[in-house]
Symmetry: C2
Subunit: 211 residues, 2 copies
């Protein structure tokens, strides 16, 4: 069954799902949702995803949304197909979950604010809030200091294996080092920098950026 | 092995973990961390949890933090002990993950703001921001409208079974209907109200509130 991914291949949360599907060798097709035209607020889309955000996957009769839930679902359903992304033991998976949550709760809010303020808002003509930018950069810096310490002892976040915990960071960190223009936040931290070079050069992520 | 839970039994995130351990019939002891004395910023605590937030669990040599990761770990490790909290199939677990993510990404930010502004800040002498309160109440209301629709078709969030998806909502919703004084947000929505009565009356949650 080909998995239908509703969303734009240029949007961050769909990219998280696409990277996972490629890592797991799962066939998919993209059903474009044009965010600039507001197609994510159309009744048909809201019927699939009541919060009006991308992505949503349809896999036969099964519908699922929230990118971090979708990647967990496919990593578990196809555990032994493609690259394992959950760790070998329940303890390893626990650490994968820990760092997935760190990304969702600690890393995502400030990096999202930076991307919104410095990339989305200018395109949409919304005025930028310098205080939010400064506070978000400070918060993200503190989170990255913890990552630097962690990655000085462990090749990847959850241990010595690439996992969903790393993959989930790809889309927004890509924005940070490109459009946002704050690559120094990664490069000033030796171990974070090496980790980023490693995960951003995975064939799956390169393929996502070509879609 | 008795699980050590570092945190206060009065704090929301540790309560999420305690409710799960009780549902799973897992023995635990609480290692108190006094947030008002700033014990979560002590070097020994930061060594366990580098972001300086509760809870952390220690289970023999294994250490894990982030409450939503900890509950997934114990629900999976002791799948067949106590109450099943993950669903029976990988598709059911996918929906549990979806609603866990909805809670973490959509429900938590506005409800946290309401609790912070209306409960924590007044106690700490921090001035309250009326605009944040109004915006958060509006956002939470919209999220609860989606819950109302979902719960009109399904007894619990992920399906017809109680799961981590419901359990994760207990600590902050408890604040909302008690200290925050906004019980009407639950009671004005018939199906959300019935769901809340159901989950808040589980023996596990009643036990957590007595700790």
């Amino acid at each position: 069954m080909v998995v239908k991914v509703h969303g734009s291949p240029y949007a961050s949360a769909p990219r998280r799902v696409l990277a996972c599907l490629i890592e797991k060798d799962i066939e998919f097709e993209i059903v474009p949702v044009d965010l600039f035209k507001g197609e994510h607020k159309n009744p048909e889309f809201l019927n699939l995803q009541p919060f009006g955000v991308v992505p949503v996957v349809q896999d036969g009769d099964y519908t699922l949304y929230e990118s971090r839930a979708i990647i967990r679902y496919y990593a578990e359903k196809y555990k032994s197909q493609g690259n394992d992304l959950l760790g070998k033991t329940v303890e390893e998976r626990g650490l994968v979950e820990q760092w997935l949550e760190v990304e969702g709760q600690n890393y995502h809010p400030p990096i999202y604010n930076l991307v919104a303020q410095l990339v989305f808002f200018p395109k949409m003509g919304i005025p930028v809030d310098q205080k939010i930018i400064e506070e978000s950069e400070e918060k993200l810096g503190k989170v990255l200091d913890v990552y630097e310490e962690r990655l000085s002892k462990s090749k990847y976040l959850a241990g010595d294996f690439f996992s969903l915990a790393d993959l989930t960071h790809l889309p927004f960190t890509h924005y940070l080092v490109t459009d946002v223009g704050k690559e120094f936040m990664i490069r000033d931290r030796k171990h974070v920098s090496a980790w980023w070079d490693d995960i951003a050069n995975r064939p799956s992520w390169k393929k996502v950026l070509q879609l």
